[in-house]
Symmetry: C2
Subunit: 145 residues, 2 copies
DNA sequence: ACAGATAGTTGTACATCTCCAATGATTTAA
DNA sequence: TTAAATCATTGGAGATGTACAACTATCTGT
């Protein structure tokens, strides 16, 4: 059990566990945004996705990992709040495009501001480590989008 | 807007966003463990916490960010599945200690195995970067526990 | 001994989410 | 042109979580 037994896979597992702890440990942020916006996290997620760019209800359902009936319901709710609106889809009259209203974009930005605020521990990192971390996470997240 | 405008805070925000994307992006893992264990993610979280070490219902409720009534209900459910059990608390006869049965520990380990499996992108990292990442995340997660 | 606080439980009401079936409008394929 | 498929919607059944109120047993401080 010397340091030489430390395989690539084992290191990855440790790093992964720590990453999960860092990101998921701060549940307070989740509660904070839910309280601030007065809607469920799922709806906030839907709104944030819509604010990133218009899409059909079907696409929204897919990206939220839910079914179309529930996507309809969630969009109904967001529309009743004046945050999103449905418009006709010129390319296919069966479907509808959902897009964020100015108020919706503002609300989504508010959510991003809260969720995007790094935890104190991250800010406390030495500049060198932080730069190095950002370089590595860029590589990790890079080919996902 | 030169590279010199890149402040510590801005770098931290980018890194944080990427960390969130890496960890939260893989929702499949969550669904996988829910399907594998046949119970909600919340209950899996409860079981995993109990398997880490016995605790009172009150402590469990606090750590799950829920209230005592619901903690009771979740423990009832886990107990009905034979995964956890309540024992008397010698220090305070009002409270009860919840601990995992052998079956519960096994199930929790199964969940940890699924959730703890690093995503392919992490394993694909060069050994140098991975080691560096692990060093930095250790520092980040270190003073949380 | 007594008053007040706390632990777990029971119960209720409600919001939220998942899953499935079915429908009208529209598009696509044969 | 006709049959099958797709889109959004409506509806319903049920699991899951959240938030309170109230109760009993027990502990703590005075």
């Amino acid at each position: 059990m010397t340091a030489h037994d430390d395989t690539h896979a084992a290191t990855a597992e440790r790093a992964w566990g720590q990453l999960r702890e860092i990101v998921l440990g701060g549940n307070e942020r989740r509660k904070e945004v839910v309280d601030a916006l007065g809607m469920s996290f799922f709806r906030i997620k839907a709104l944030r996705r819509i604010a990133r760019g218009p899409l059909t209800l079907r696409e929204l359902a897919e990206q939220l990992l839910t079914d179309r009936p529930y996507a309809t319901l969630v969009v109904d709710d967001l529309a009743a709040r004046g945050l999103v609106e449905r418009t006709a889809n010129p390319a296919d009259r069966r479907s509808k495009i959902v897009s964020a209203t100015p108020a919706g974009k503002e609300t989504a930005a508010r959510a991003e501001r809260i969720l995007g605020t790094p935890p104190p521990a991250l800010l406390a990192l030495p500049a060198e480590d932080l730069a190095e971390l950002e370089r590595i996470t860029s590589r990790l997240a890079g080919h996902g989008s």
